[in-house]
Amino acid sequence: MSAVLPDAAARMLSIRLGGGIWRLELRTLVIRIVLLALLLAVGGAALMSGTYQLDPSQVLSALSGGGEGTIRKLVLEWRLPRVLFAVLGGLALGISGAIFQSLTRNPLGSPDVIGFDAGSYTGALIVMLVLGSVSYAVIATGAVLGGVITALLVYLLAYRRGIQGFRFIIVGIGVSAFLVGINSYLLISTGIQEARAAVAWGFGSFSALGYEQLVPFVLVLAVILPLVMLARRGFAQLELGDDAAKAVGVDVERTRLTMTVLGVALTAIVTAAAGPIAFVALVAPQVARRLVRAPGLDMVSAGIMGALLMLSADFVGQRIDITVGLVTVVLGGGYFAWLLIREGFRR
């Protein structure tokens, strides 16, 4: 697979449609198809297995609206929303990670590392513990606000005649540490029952989610994703440096701000629904990039990779009875160590 094909035409797939041509690297296409197949396989397994084991035909008939009533209920109402959440949430986090890693030009520049997750948790904790609300919608709003305010804070603190990636990350890590302290304080200074529930939220879990949460999530995602796709081409030109991007006609500052807002939104809606889920945004774009080997960050592949990672993490977590957030922390911790060691040896 690692052979270098010298002929540009041989590794590029062109599809003619109307007056335009859509081009895609052959390798990218193959990787995406393989990842999608894996996603389908894990998704199928997740629908089949559980305390009550089903076979493929039962799942398929339940999905197509047939079969026994109890099985249909089990598949459609219990297992399917969870699978859809894992897939779409992973997609959102993978794309969000790709956006921030591209903005900061740094593999560490993902929303969970630069404090947006910690900020969402702070927002949720304030709602749960200080305001004493248990309503899902209110907690979700608190989480979104917390994430957005944190992003704004990091952006403003790091702003000095434009945003420079490394400063953004350092400021983000600092803000994140500060927020983790606040979160601990909020948890310590409350009753043990409330703290227990709040801690559980902080591990990130899909187990309490149903269509009630899925529908608003999907609606928001359906607004954000097309906007990301619209801004994507100009955003990719930023990889050439600001001057070169401007010279080919990209409105650099506007594109950067648009993508920051969309990236924050993508992370915030996942956190709002399921609690902070670390490391998917950090890991997915980098793994996808190593597989695809296309220049720059490929958002589509990063999104599919994120979906696969999240679904697999939830699948594993469900089997050994821990939350998806804990699985991704363990997976991500290993990846983080590997990245640091590798960077360390390169110096």
Binding site: A8, I21, G241, D243, A244, A247, V248, D251, P295
Partner: protein, 270 residues
């Protein structure tokens, strides 16, 4: 000093600078159509700043940069990018990008959401790579190329943009002498093929040899402009650079050539 040219690109009494630091005040410059204009001057004289203003990279505090008679900031960004190409002083190649893909990035202003790539794009990329002699490198990774090859690839990217006006900010600075000349010859070919070029160069002899129109700047102002044969004199070099020198005809082209005097040691008598 000034002749009457037509100029699609000109700066009209612009005050330009960065942050609050003003570099040039009330500067007016015309880029004659069809010229190979070279801007020279000592470090920090404002030559790159002028080029950045001409290419819409910075906004003048006062005055206007006019492209085809209209304020350059009044156009849509892509519209400007279809008329004016810029080779910036420094650019970054995305990790793992191949030559043909980087050159294709120059087609951005010609593309739309529903027409991300076209036969015209393909042709423009092929022509740009052929003109810069990088066709053989099309499938190579940009990171693996030598400095001279890489600069030719960046030039190819700007050519793929297919703009009648080309601005080049210190295009030869990090290259060895052979690659510098190779690139300047390439620019001359482009000029002869009908492009209007504006380059910032450090080497006076290169400027005098290749420019058809020379602009000498000092302290943010134009000190002299015209054809190199008319304006390159020992007095001008002394005035602009503070460098005592003699100007002699270049033995190959007969264009003016600057020879610094330096600290002259007595010649040994024969």
């Amino acid at each position: 000093m000034t002749e009457s040219h037509t100029a699609r690109l000109r700066a009209a009494e612009v005050t330009i600078g960065y942050d609050r630091r003003v570099i040039s005040t009330d500067l007016s410059v015309d880029i004659p159509d069809g010229s190979f204009t070279v801007i020279v001057g000592p470090n920090a004289c404002g030559k790159s700043t002028l080029l950045r203003a001409l290419s819409r990279l910075i906004d003048p505090e006062k005055g206007r940069v006019l492209l085809d008679g209209k304020d350059i900031h009044g156009y849509r960004a892509k519209e400007v990018a279809r008329r004016v190409g810029l080779l910036p002083q420094s650019s970054l190649a995305p990790d793992g990008i191949r030559v043909a893909d980087l050159v294709a990035r120059g087609r951005y202003p010609h593309q739309t959401l529903l027409r991300p790539w076209s036969d015209a794009d393909e042709l423009a990329v092929d022509e740009a790579m052929a003109a810069t002699g990088v066709t053989e490198l099309a499938g190579r990774l940009v990171d693996e190329l030598s400095g001279g090859q890489r600069q030719r690839v960046w030039v190819a990217m700007v050519l793929a943009q297919q703009t009648p006006l080309l601005l080049l900010d210190e295009p030869t600075t990090f290259l060895d002498i052979a690659h510098q000349i190779e690139l300047l010859e390439l620019f001359t070919d482009l000029h002869e093929a009908g492009s209007t070029l504006v380059a910032v160069l450090h080497d006076l002899n290169h400027a005098a040899r290749y420019a058809t129109h020379l602009i000498a700047m000092k302290d943010g102002q134009v000190v002299a402009e015209g054809s190199p044969g008319e304006i390159v004199t020992a007095e001008l070099v002394e005035e602009v650079f503070g460098l005592p020198c003699v100007v002699v005809p270049d033995p190959i082209t007969d264009k003016p050539s600057v020879v610094p005097i330096g600290r002259v040691r007595p010649l040994r008598e024969h």
